[in-house]
């Protein structure tokens, strides 16, 4: 038991000296989160809670079914307490209201918006993209964010979900085409693109956050409550495959055989490696959570729940790390399979995009990922949830971890850990 702990701690120590790995497991998710936060106007102050009667101005130049439907949304009783819409016919004047800090945002529905989405018979199908302009007040990021989420929600209902360009940044980092230290900038650009896409129904859904505002309650909407855990969980999958990889690396570098000729048995050694992965993953997640709370003043919700959920998520992910390792032959294989799994899980598990809008089979399949369950839990917590609704994701993650660890133990048993 003691040796198991010592092996795990040794692995954490070794990782803490691997600068490249630290960049990927801590800096990359952190910078990506910052990038997202910067563009979504998350960092410009205005952290008051209890938001209501957000002043906005709507310019409906479309005057057709869809434009009117959006206006109806903002006029609905559901949103009566949350937003205070005024109307204008002049886009310039509306933007001026934003610039003068009279309103939190201007929504400009351009002429022909409905037609661009539902082409009418007789009229020529235009290839021109017609976008809703969402003109946000940078000094009221939270309010603007809420309004934007309502627009996004509306747009999401309009169109089928399609994967946007969200995966690209992480893909680029992993394939080495951009350095992690540039992630922040790229993340920022990506965020910009998403914001531009407010009127592009295909892409807008990529950051749709279905914040429930139907009760008209004061909702503290924070995009980072979505991005921070999403990015952390994505790179958690990197950490567990890094750990798994170290098992095969220790085998080829001779330290694993050396452990086995010391009075330490296979179970202690493998247990130590599993513990090392778990420890590393937990340290990574808690550091990222701590950093985002500190630097972004992000409220993750009930602290006890956050810790429990984090440990369960790391445990589930550790199971995947071990399974990948048990199936691979070389450290390099663990690395490449691990990176692929990290991306696929991030997509299926909703680290980039809310999965609610995905086809049912994708959602079902996503349940194999720790990302999906943990995102579910973190969202619950961020929205003020308590421990009770958390039990489902936690139990699911623990079950996942136990089954995968057992499966990998069987596979490791069949595979000779000693001889090459």
């Amino acid at each position: 038991m003691l040796k198991t702990l010592l092996i795990g701690i040794k692995d954490l120590k070794i990782l803490s000296r691997d600068r490249a790995a630290l960049i990927l497991i801590l800096l990359a998710p952190f910078l990506l989160t910052i990038g997202m936060g910067l563009v979504t106007g998350r960092f410009s102050g205005d952290n008051s809670s209890g938001i209501s009667d957000i002043p906005i101005v709507i310019v409906n130049l479309d005057n057709d079914s869809l434009g009117n439907a959006l206006v109806d949304v903002f006029n609905s009783d559901d949103l009566a307490e949350l937003v205070e819409p005024t109307f204008s016919v002049d886009p310039e004047a509306a933007r001026l209201l934003v610039d003068e800090d009279e309103v939190a945002a201007a929504i400009i529905i351009p002429k022909g918006f409905t037609q661009s989405i539902i082409p009418q018979s007789g009229s020529a199908v235009s290839n021109e993209e017609i976008k809703i302009e969402f003109y946000a007040n940078p000094s009221r990021p939270t309010s603007a964010g809420i309004v934007k989420s309502i627009v996004d929600g509306f747009l999401a209902r309009l169109d089928e979900m399609q994967l946007g360009g969200m995966t690209s940044v992480s893909q680029l980092i992993i394939s080495g085409r951009i350095a992690p230290q540039d992630a922040n900038q790229v993340g920022e650009e990506m965020g910009k693109r998403l914001q531009n896409a407010a009127g592009n129904s295909n892409e807008a859904t990529a950051i749709t956050l279905n914040t429930s505002t139907s009760e008209g309650e004061a909702v503290e909407f924070d995009v980072l409550s979505f991005f921070a855990p999403g990015m952390a969980l994505m790179f958690l999958m990197y950490t567990v495959s890094y750990g798994g990889r170290s098992i095969l690396a220790e085998k080829s570098e001779g330290t694993l055989p050396r452990l086995l000729v010391s009075p330490t048995n296979t179970i202690q050694v493998l247990g130590g490696k599993v513990f090392g992965i778990f420890l590393t993953g937990a340290a990574q997640m808690l550091i990222l959570i701590g950093a985002s709370s500190l630097f972004f003043r992000l409220n993750w919700g009930n602290a006890f729940g956050v810790v429990l959920l984090t440990l369960a998520a790391v445990f589930g992910a550790t199971g995947w790390g071990m399974l990948i390792t048990a199936l691979a032959r070389t450290p390099a294989q663990v690395g490449s399979v691990g990176s692929a799994v990290m991306l696929i899980f991030a997509m299926l598990g909703g680290s980039f995009i809310q999965t609610d809008n995905m086809p049912a089979f994708v959602q079902t399949f996503g349940k194999i990922t720790p990302n999906a369950w943990a995102m579910n839990g973190f969202t619950t917590l961020a929205l003020g949830g308590t421990l009770t609704p958390l039990s489902t994701p936690i139990v699911a993650l623990l079950t996942m971890g136990i089954s995968l660890l057992l499966l990998s133990a069987v596979l490791f048993g069949k595979k000779n850990l000693v001889q090459k």
């Binding site: 003691l2 040796k3 010592l6 040794k10 120590k13 070794i14 000296r17 691997d18 570098e253 001779g254 330290t255 055989p257 050396r258 452990l259 086995l260 000729v261 010391s262 009075p263 330490t264 048995n265 000693v418 001889q419």
Partner: protein, 314 residues
């Protein structure tokens, strides 16, 4: 002296290749025993079985009274292992490595720390102990690799070619360390393909080739096997044909055996002086120019040559 290790018909096959073909030998408490053999002879495979890492295909060995197949855990307590390939955590310092491996041998607390200090002193790395192993030279890494095997003061130390690929100075230091350890009571099983190391260190030598123990005994006993033979070594130029020379001199009266190694021809004979004239004559006949000659007293190299018809180093 009692035997600390008794090997009985130990064999190991990989898939369909037999690396060790049923070898038997004993090691007495307090001696340095060398397994001498060329690359691929089966030295590492033997050490791996004795250190309980590999399961023997057949046969057994008893170490300190415990069977390697039936009670491997007890065997592990008795032995220390210095693997052929350096097996250390490069991102940890020498001290951190020693502390970690000491913990794996059940050491802890103050006694671990003072033991680590002792070992660092012994391997001469006290000053560099706080540097990461990856900053070390090959020789320094080899020394840490040895240090790890010494931490728990094993009764029997396995050293698998501990001097491969390092500078002469480090090699000297390592050989001296082995002798020093032995002087303080540690029994050592040392494998090497360097005849000189086996000669310098060991009380007894086992010569291993193609998985078989082809000779076993003290150096005197072994060299007697070659008879009163001496070895005459002919060094020739790079452009000359050593095979032709070996063939030519074989017919000289008094030549027992002539073999080729690199650009040398080694001739085993009962008296080198008697055959000199004949050998030089044959070389001249063929127009092969001999650059220089050596006469060697019987040694382990000659024993190996005598037994296998090949040189140790190929």
């Amino acid at each position: 002296m009692p035997n600390i290790l008794e090997v009985q018909n130990l064999a190991k096959s990989y898939d369909n290749f037999t690396a060790v073909k049923g070898i038997s030998f004993d090691i007495k408490e307090g001696e340095i025993f060398s397994l001498l053999g060329p690359n691929g002879a089966g030295k590492t495979t033997t050490i791996s079985m004795l250190s309980t890492l590999y399961t023997p295909t057949s046969g057994d060995a008893v170490i300190g009274g415990h069977s390697i197949t039936k009670d491997p855990m007890a065997v592990k307590q008795v032995i220390g292992v210095v693997p052929q390939e350096i097996a250390l955590y490069e991102d940890l310092t020498a001290r951190e490595n020693l502390v970690f491996w000491g913990q794996m041998y059940g050491l802890g607390g103050k006694s671990l720390n003072s033991r680590v200090d002792e070992v660092l002193e012994q391997i001469g790395l006290t000053d560099k102990a706080k540097n990461r192993v990856k900053t070390y030279s090959g020789g320094m890494k080899r020394r840490v690799n040895i240090g790890v095997g010494l931490l728990h003061k094993p009764r029997l130390l396995f050293m698998d070619e501990p001097t491969v690929g390092i500078d002469p100075q480090s090699r000297r230091a390592i050989l001296d360390t082995v002798k020093d350890l032995n002087k303080h009571g540690m029994t050592v099983l040392y494998t090497t393909h360097y005849m000189e190391e086996a000669a310098e260190l060991s009380n007894r030598v086992g010569i291993i080739d193609h998985g078989e123990l082809i000779a076993l005994g003290t150096q005197d006993e072994l060299t007697k096997q070659v008879g009163q033979a001496e070895t005459l070594i002919l060094h020739i130029g790079e452009n000359e044909d050593p095979d032709a020379l070996a063939k030519a001199v074989s017919s000289v009266e008094g030549v027992q055996k002539a073999d080729v190694t690199n650009n040398e021809v080694s001739i085993i004979t009962s008296d080198a002086k008697d055959i000199l004239a004949g050998v030089v004559g044959k070389a001249n006949e063929r127009g092969i120019k001999i650059r220089s000659m050596d006469i060697r007293e019987p040694n382990l190299e000659a024993v190996f040559l005598h037994l296998t018809g090949r040189a140790l180093r190929d």
